[in-house]
Each structure stands twice: as C-alpha cells, then as structure tokens.
Symmetry: C2
Subunit: 126 residues, 2 copies
Amino acid sequence: MVVYEDKDFYIQKELSQIPWLKIFTKEPYKELGDMPKELRLQLWQVYDIVEYEMKSYYNPTKINMASFANMLPRVHIHVMARFENDNYFPNPMWGEKLRDTALTLPDENLFFKRLKEALHEFYSQK
Amino acid sequence: MVVYEDKDFYIQKELSQIPWLKIFTKEPYKELGDMPKELRLQLWQVYDIVEYEMKSYYNPTKINMASFANMLPRVHIHVMARFENDNYFPNPMWGEKLRDTALTLPDENLFFKRLKEALHEFYSQK
C-alpha cells in the first residue's frame, strides 16, 4: 500500500505488527551510492521526516532503519517503530521471534495523514 | 577493533565472515534524528565513503546497511558487503543462516588503509 508519493519518492506500508514504512526512489538504483548526490541528500531529508513523525506519533522504544534489497537489488529504506513488547524486540525484525503479543497502537490513518502533511510542507519550502 | 577515528566519528570492525563495519558518533545519540543536522549530514558523507570503498575493494553482490541499537540505545550504522555465497545471503545478516561456506576475500588491512586514506582526504578538503 502506497501511503505517500511525489515526483522523486514513494512510501509503502509493510504489513506487520509494528509501524513499518519503506521509502523508495521512483528511479531504481542498486546502491545508495549510485543515486545522484542531490537525490541522496533529499532521501535523508525524507527519512528524517518519516523518523520524526513516527517517533512523535507512536512514541516507540526505538526507531530501526535498514537497507538490504538482496533479493531484488533496488535500494530502499526500511523505517520501523519498535516497542519493547513487540514480537521480536530487541532482535531486528528479521531475527528470531521472541513472543506473541498484541500491540495496542493509535490509528495508522491519522499517522499517514500527518506524515503526508509534513512531507508536503517540506516540499513547499524547497 | 577500531579501524578509523576522528574528532566526530569512529569506525569499528564487526567480527564476521563478511566485511562488516559499524560507524559510531563519538557523542552518543539515541536516534539519528537526535543528532545535530550538520553532524547527521557528515555521517551520511562518511557512510558514502565507507560504502564506496567497500564496493570498489570487495566487489560485493550487494551492500547492506542498518541501524538498530535496540539493546543499547546508542545509534550507529552497520555497513556490510554481502556476497551471493555468504552464509546468510539473501537473508539479512540477522536472519536465518542458509549455508556454511568459506569466502575468499582480499586482505582486509589494505581495505582499512584505503578507507582511512579516503576519509582523511575527505576531511582535508572540508
């Protein structure tokens, strides 16, 4: 599910127990270092906004981020809000599952709305 | 083992089958977004250099990067050179081990030397 899109990037929701987004560039690149410098800087600005909005909306124990793309070499950034009682904490989401808990989280639609507003504001100031 | 150090950052080697470095800020921060903006930009520049040098020295199948710090909330960046025949590929290094292979890699000391030179050159141009 795409929750945000502009001319350079789109953001997808990953189905998971936790808030988990993936930031893609529209143009595909294999590695971060293959992106033009300006776009790379912009990606980190988009990342900063996603991290900030996730942190302020969900108040997670920790933010996790990662970029692998080993199966399909098309670089993208995972941003995850982790909670000390989520199913894998403190393991990475790719590690061993440690428990089976039901997390009670606020409405994700309001989060997506706030994130979109923050990204639109960022772009309108550029 | 610390393979590089300057006034803002240090880089540690992680013991692993694959080339794996961890970039730390000297000042501890919980999240990337807690870092002063200037230092964050500098971190991504250091990351770019580490990625570039790893890629050109080892010619890996894919670069992986991640930031978790769930056990000890002190943000740092993992940079890993992945090979299609390494023990976990295409899984992340935190995922299920898939095989037991011996990788033949070039001398890491020459890589550390080249990385240090590239970082020193970057700093001398600032």
